[in-house]
Symmetry: C2
Amino acid sequence: MDIGILGTGMVGQTIGSKLVQLGHNVMLGSRSADNPNAHTWAKEEGHNAYFGTFAEAAAYGEVIFNCTLGSASLEALQAAGAENLKGKILIDTSNPIDYSTEITTLTVCNTDSLGEQIQRAFPETLVVKTLNTMNANVMVNPAKLVEITDVFLSGNSSKAKAAVSGYLHDWFGWRSIIDLGDITTSRGVEMFLIMWFSLRHVKSAKRMNIKLVTS
Amino acid sequence: MDIGILGTGMVGQTIGSKLVQLGHNVMLGSRSADNPNAHTWAKEEGHNAYFGTFAEAAAYGEVIFNCTLGSASLEALQAAGAENLKGKILIDTSNPIDYSTEITTLTVCNTDSLGEQIQRAFPETLVVKTLNTMNANVMVNPAKLVEITDVFLSGNSSKAKAAVSGYLHDWFGWRSIIDLGDITTSRGVEMFLIMWFSLRHVKSAKRMNIKLVTS
């Protein structure tokens, strides 16, 4: 499959590398086509790994990952272009984190979410929020954890969520995928990040995730 | 031990009954001393189970539980009285939930929390936020879940958190108790509630809780 990834940071590179290793064609997109991160990444991954602008990566992909910082996501997606995203699944892994405050806060929460903002801004794109509740190394390799943990889906299109569920399973090995409901459920998974930061602060584990346990 | 519980709803009654069964003396407090819930509860639990006003319950307890609705907590604690709460541990199980909105929201979050508001309003009380991330039936009996799950502590006093950790273990059987840090970490555990509501909506389990898994 041809996959576009917006964002050249840790999340974009980790997902991109995993997909290239699986034999997919991946283009990493950034603000400018001469982004050194993307250049180095594509060189190291060899053939099937490309880089370009946000617009080029969005046009290239049959499926698009948003791996930009939440604070920059709407701008990055505008640069990617509504036409290039139209009718496609956008897997949104971003979180609206404001790192400028002493205690980490969100730039949007409670009555709205970044997932909803993106879906409103791109009504013809099938936004599926997922993978945002963990580090990149867990996103692409949940089997490294000592138990089966959960990943969540939020989105308005059941068909898109079913497709993403298949990708999460087939590409990354996710075995417990919980569909939380429509895109408004992005609020919960984004707000969870504040608790996640506390957990990461007190746990020294390189990898961690949560698991829902019932009786 | 003599324990005061503010709030006569499901959480207050469930914790109260468990503590009475363990042999403690428990007074349930409410806005008025003739609250029918508290009256019925005390009658059913027999001796060691009492009821009174918020102020009477706060004066009675060596340790106090706040089990009022988050939207009413500050008012209930004002009625309980700073003098009656002074120097005591206040175990805050409440959540600042606004049920009036179509999608459940919090009345305070992100840059502040109910736990912090309570600690600021009662600076001479040792506020420990805990147990707020689950239903009452899980709070007092985590062993009913099929695996060991986590409960969290937020508070400024390490001594108070150590004492509460002991209560959670000895009274309710908690085996994995994670100290998240000072009272500002209440933000995370309160914001988690929005995700919890989504999880409860999609899972039919009567009991559920989360467990942190590492590699």
